[in-house]
């Protein structure tokens, strides 16, 4: 009977743990660099906007706390402009 899947994978990993064999080709590493460079601008935009969302939310929270109770802030404050995000994929689509 063969080894359990986990043991087999560990065994295989040890056998493959030879620097020459473990090394990935230069083209593959270059492709990864290019891939990351492609996705970086979108990630930066989303990250920046998500910080804005947190900031806006905390501003509303502080204002509501200052006014007391459950947030008797003005209608204009409730409509603080919040940034729009681009959602790249939908779950259960």
């Amino acid at each position: 009977m063969g080894a359990a899947p986990r043991e087999r994978e560990l065994e295989k990993a040890w056998r493959q743990h030879q620097p020459e064999r473990a090394r990935v080709p230069l083209e593959a590493r270059r492709a990864v660099r290019e891939f990351k460079a492609r996705i970086a601008p979108d990630a930066d935009r989303i990250s920046a906007r998500s910080r804005e969302v947190r900031f806006s939310s905390s501003m509303i929270g502080r204002r509501r706390a200052r006014l007391g109770g459950n947030g008797n802030c003005s209608a204009s404050e409730k409509r603080l402009p919040l940034p729009r995000l681009t959602v790249r994929a939908a779950l259960y689509s």
């Binding site: 590493r29 990630a43 959602v87 790249r88």
Partner: protein, 154 residues
């Protein structure tokens, strides 16, 4: 969901965990259109796994493949995933023409929020997969999915 290039994500003192990675991040929208209520990490693809992906499938669309892996993980049966995590077993996430062989990591983040991520060790094309390396089982009922579990602990 979106992709984020990141530095070391999981703070474990081991060379494998010190790699840079691409993280698939999920978010739940708020009632205000275009804004998010909270976000969470889903799949970590370290540089080595990404390089294997490009080596073994040179024409792969890595963006599509990573989203596919993340969606499979969120749809997976939470009990299957939890058993695999506790036993330290690998789960196989479909990613384009192959599978991301992933380790499950659960724990608190820097904000003390419980997180569960799938961390890819490597990528194999379908022909390389062993008979027992099959895609992770999806939850029959969505309330039993990983996504439902993530929702509960946010």
């Amino acid at each position: 969901m979106w992709l984020e290039p990141r530095a070391q994500l999981v703070r474990i003192d081991h060379p494998s965990f010190q790699q840079n990675c691409v993280l698939v991040v999920g978010a739940v929208g708020s009632r205000v259109p275009g804004t998010i209520r909270w976000s969470f990490p889903i799949v970590e693809a370290p540089d080595h796994a990404l390089a294997r992906m490009h080596q073994r499938s040179p024409n792969i669309d890595a963006t599509v493949a990573l989203y596919e892996a993340a969606i499979s993980f969120l749809r997976a049966d939470r009990n299957v995933v939890e058993t695999a995590r506790v036993e330290g077993c690998t789960v196989c996430l479909p990613a384009g023409p192959g599978l991301l062989l992933s380790l499950l990591i659960g724990g608190l983040d820097l904000e003390s929020k419980m997180r569960l991520i799938a961390r890819a060790n490597t990528f194999v094309v379908a022909e390389m997969a062993e008979p027992d390396q099959r895609p992770v089982q999806a939850a029959i009922d969505s309330s039993q999915s990983v996504l439902a579990a993530v929702n509960q602990v946010r």
